[in-house]
Amino acid sequence: MQPRTAYTRTAIALHWFIALLITAGFTLGATMTDLHMSPRKLRLYSYHKWIGITVLGLVTIRLIWRLTHAVPPDEPMPRWQRIAAHGTHWLLYLLMIATPIFGWLYSSASGYPVVYLKLWQLPDLVSKNKVLADQLVQVHAFLAWTLFYVVLLHAAAALKHHFFDRDATLRRMLAWRRA
């Protein structure tokens, strides 16, 4: 059997859908806190939380998929780039899991539990505690901003491979229709 040249469709679909959700969730998170108190503000907080929980669920599926399915072999590149690329991927997984978990922790500690899609109330991970909540929200924000910069690095590297090295790095994450 030939080694696969692209990611599986499942991995591709999850990758781009999660990318879209993270962009929306991050944009909401970075702007909603400064809004004046209004019903809209509370709704946006809810959407932000739902997006975060969705990312947490989908990333978990993606991670299981990744560990059970072969990924395409690396394109030829210097050793340091290979290490950097793989390091970035695993850092992304870590941040995509940790950021929503700390958001969930913060929701619990602040006494505003997550009610996913307005239907299911998620269990509180910690009990209400204002001091803890103030610390958790800072960790959540730090993780989110770190994720933002690592995503930028990841995207910049993909574009560099596509336009400068002219290799298949980006194409194998876009190859929905098999040749």
Binding site: M37, L42, Y112
Partner: protein, 183 residues
């Protein structure tokens, strides 16, 4: 002014209620007690404790019908967990704590139920409006320990004109209040 006279009547009623019960049980120990309002925004239940209150419940297990309760709560002590929310909820459209700093409950009659239980009927006055409430209460008494009263009731924001209409799609009309009062 209608509002002032209402406040005055309230204060007098409360004072009378206090005097009437003064001979009986000790005052509520606020440091051991809690009154918590639970509202729902976007279907998210949020517990907001009322941190400042005082009152007295006169209860004798042998004569539950004669029980009396008078409580006074500082509306400005509602803690929603963040400074933003607390500032919002004290505004005129919500609790208007500047104009109506106190909410009161004064019992009018008590009906004994099963052992350790009774139903208290009384008048809740909040933001200048009064409503008759019937509240089931559980009493816990043990030798050498303070008497504890637990119960809960529901109020309607619309009835007490708490919150602008624009919030009605976001914040439920019903607000549940539960109390744990220790003498």
């Amino acid at each position: 002014m209608k509002r002032n006279s209402l406040l005055l009547i309230n204060s007098i009623a409360l004072a009378i209620a206090f005097v009437a019960t003064a001979a009986g049980d000790p005052a509520i120990d606020a440091s051991k007690s809690s009154i918590i309002a639970t509202f729902k925004e976007e279907n998210v239940p949020v517990d907001a404790p009322l941190k400042k209150f005082n009152g007295r419940i006169d209860y004798n297990a042998a004569q539950p019908n004669a029980a009396k309760a008078a409580l006074e709560v500082d509306t400005g002590s509602l803690d929603m967990g963040s400074a933003d929310y607390n500032a919002e909820v004290r505004k005129k459209a919500w609790l208007d704590s500047g104009t109506y700093p106190k909410a009161t409950f004064i019992s009018t009659s008590v009906k004994p139920g099963a052992a350790g239980q009774f139903t208290a009927t009384g008048t809740l006055t909040l933001k200048g409006k009064s409503q008759t409430l019937t509240v089931p209460v559980t009493v816990t008494q043990a030798a050498g320990k303070p008497t504890v009263f637990d119960g809960a009731f529901e109020i309607s924001r619309a009835y007490f004109v708490i919150g602008d209409k624009e919030w009605n799609d976001t914040v439920d009309d019903k607000v549940r209040v539960r109390f744990h009062l220790v003498e």
